[in-house]
Every structure is written in C-alpha cells, then in structure tokens.
Symmetry: C2
Subunit: 228 residues, 2 copies
DNA sequence: AAGTCAATGGTACTGAGTACCGTCTATATG
DNA sequence: CATATAGACGGTACTCAGTACCATTGACTT
C-alpha cells in the first residue's frame, strides 16, 4: 500500500533532491535514504545515477526500430519522419516529467551530454535505415542518407525543445509542419514509371538569383536525389 | 633530454595501454606508471582519463568561434561551411593519431559518447551563429538555422569518417563537394536589391512529379529561405 | 511445515577524481 | 656564492559511483 513499487519512490526522491541541491551535490546514498531503501536497491532499479533521469530510452529506441521495420512508406525519408513522431509523442505523454528533465539537462553538462548521445543513437538508426532503403552504395547516396537523418532529427529536436520550453501548444502540428519542411529539402525523384501520364509542366517565372547559383537546385528538383 | 615534457609520454603510454588491454581495463595508475610519473601529475596534465584522447577540443572550438567572428561571407551558412573546414584540417594534421582515436571511439561506448557531445557543441555554435546572422526571430527561421547547422555538421562528419576509415585520399575535395551539396539544399534567397538587372528566367520543362509535391520546393526556390 | 523464489539490505572492494601538503629544482637576486 | 621564490612533481588521504557477494526476509507453493 504505502509501497508504490520503490522504483517510483526512488525516481521521486531523485528528482526532488536534484531540484533542491543540484545533481552533482546529490549522492546516491541520499536518494536511497529519502526513498527509504538501501543503496543496493537503487542500483538494482537503475543502472546508474543518470539512469534515474533517462529511464526508458532503450525501450523507446527499440520501439522506433520496430516501427521502421514494419513500416511501408513510399520513401525511407518519409518512413523515418513518421517514426520520429513516436519520440515526440512519448515526451508529450510524460508531460511534466519531461519538462523537469529538460530543466536538469539544461543546467548539468553531464546530463546534457548523455541526452545528446541518446539522440545520436536515433540518428544513427535513421541513417542506416535510409541508406538501406535507398539500396544505393554510392558515396553520394551515403552522404544524402546522412543529411536526411540529421535533418529529421534536427527538426524533431527543434519542435521538442519548443514544447519543453512551453513555447508551443500544438507540438504535433508543428512537427508535421517541420517535417514538411524537411521533405521539401529533399524532393522526391520523378517516378520511374511512365512519365507521360501524371506530371507537371513548369511554365516560366523570373528570379533575381544568378543562374549558376540556381542550377544545382534545379537539377536536384527534377532528377530527384537518388532515393529508389 | 629523456623528458619530452611528460605530457607527451603520458599520452603515448595511454594510447599504448588502451591498445593493449582496452580502455576500461586500463587504470590511470598504470598509465602514470608507464609514463614514469606520479598519478597526480597525470591529472595535472589531463582533467580526466578521457581527456588524454581528446586533448584540444576546447582549443579547436575557440578557434572556430574566432573564425566565425572574423569571417565576412555572403550568408551565415557559407560562413559556417567554411569554418567547419578547420575541423577537418585539424584532424588531417593529426594524421595517425586521429585514426587511433577513431579506432578507440569505435569500440568504447563512453568515448563515442564523449566525441558526439563535442560535435554537438560545434553544431550548437553553428546554429547560434546562423540564427544571429539571419536576424530573423521567426519560428520558421529558427528551424531553418537548426537544419542548416545539422546539415553542415552531418556532411562534415560524413567526410571525416570516410577519411578516418581510409576510404578517401582527398578529403578536402570531398568536403568541398559535400558542402556544395549542402548549399544546394538551402538555395540562397533572391537578392533584395533591384531584381531587374542580374537574374534568371526559367522557361519551361516537364517532370513526372505531382504538382502538389513540387510546390513547396518551388516556393522555397524562388523566395529563398529567409536568410538576410 | 518445509521449500522455493524474488526482492532487499549490508559489507567490502575497485577506480576516478579532488584536496592538500611537503619536496625538489631552476632561476633570479642579494 | 648563498638565499629566496615560483613552478612542477610525488604522495597521502578522502569522496563517491559502480560492482560483487552474501545473508535475510517474506510471500507463495507443495
């Protein structure tokens, strides 16, 4: 009854103490003591002191991996930009807890680094997925996959941080918008199937830009990057 | 004479031991002992055990910051993609040392995380620089700055890793090429100054893509992102 | 009642990082 | 030449995270 699973009490005690005295000034002993358990029990529930704050990154990463494995989208980039929503949704579900964590990571360098390392794992997963999806072993395709993964993650982080700071009330919509922005960066290639039926003819317009500066963009716009 | 600055001996001893027995299996005492100095001296030269491997990230970061501060380029993105070359050049200058470090970071998770955290600091610096350069506080501009910084860093990492793995003989040329790719992702806006003199008129061409899919790209192509 | 399993608590250890202090050496200064 | 001063060094002792091991408890089964 008065024992809500110890694990919860440990997390509560940890966050409380971190707020009161700061992360580095709090010892594991103190956390365990306030939670009313032994030091050993702490390490049985959390692998490390940092782990109290980032409990389920592993689980979330596995979830994403799963989503990617079972996803059927028209391009790798779209599949990834879809999967990354899970991360945002997870944070939103955590609610206030996520915000407390954000306040901590903003102040403590060690925790910020840890958070960054976690994000890098998502990015790596995305990069590998996109690269595999493209099935193109060229160096240029590899770079492209890297840029796509980095962009998706950057866009996600951008929206997530805005939400964590309370700067937006509809993060999901913003995420959609941001992902559209990312997709626009990497225009899909023209369909290989007969280009005669559905298609678009651009007529004419004038821009102040130099032609040389414009050419690479135009080429990419029409030929597409190389996905599929 | 036989005392080449202790600091060097410590680094040599550390790398040798890390190669022989692995990073985690090597204690600071052992490093100090092989270098023929006391444990205290080790910590006097390097703040931590990891620091032996990443000695001058701080210095490099300051160098970049300086380069950005004194740079005069046409856009923030170009300034940043120029500054990031310094990082590549630094690694190339290190030569074999950089490769040994890469082999270590590939195997040891703690070191990889540390490396990633360092890179994130560059990225943050770039993001702030670009954002300030744009001087546009809109949310969309902020996202754009984030995407640009992430892309530059991703492209840099891509080329750097290729060089570290010995997959390229001319990393500088590849970096230039990769940066062109990044610049093409973010087309420069049409000049604000009279759009009548220099300019380009696109005439017409046909693509298999759907118009809706094409529109956002077209808009960005003409209106430019918002830089300046 | 005896046995089993999981969760717990305690003790002892390793190793990183910090603080402090005494020593040595080189160089300057009388 | 003798002495003073500063900087680099070595050693000791401490804190704290994380690991290993063992003994205890308590609930639930047979």
């Amino acid at each position: 009854m008065s024992k809500p699973a110890a694990r919860i009490r440990l997390a509560d005690a940890a966050f409380a103490l971190f707020d009161e005295r700061g992360y580095e000034q709090t010892t594991v002993d103190e956390i365990a003591e306030r939670a009313g358990v032994g030091r050993t029990t702490f390490f049985r529930h959390y692998r490390s002191k940092e782990d109290v704050i980032f409990p389920d990154h592993d689980r979330l990463l596995a979830l994403i991996k799963d989503r990617l494995a079972t996803s059927s989208h028209s391009t790798g980039l779209i599949a990834v930009s879809d999967a990354v929503r899970l991360v945002l949704l997870h944070y939103i579900e955590e609610g206030d807890l996520a915000r407390r964590r954000y306040r901590l990571t903003s102040k403590v360098a060690v925790l910020r680094d840890r958070e960054i390392a976690s994000v890098a794992r998502y990015q790596r997963l995305f990069r590998e997925f996109i690269a595999e999806w493209m099935g193109d072993p060229t160096e240029s395709a590899s770079l492209r996959a890297e840029l796509m993964a980095a962009s998706v993650v950057a866009a996600h982080n951008h929206v997530l941080r805005r939400w964590l700071r309370g700067e937006t009330s509809d993060p999901v919509a913003e995420m959609d918008e941001a992902m559209r922005e990312v997709l626009a960066l990497f225009p899909a290639p023209s369909g290989a199937g007969d280009p005669g039926d559905a298609g678009t003819t651009l007529v004419a317009f004038r821009t102040g830009q130099d032609l040389d500066a414009l050419l690479p963009s135009l080429r990419r716009l029409v030929e597409g990057g190389a996905e599929r």
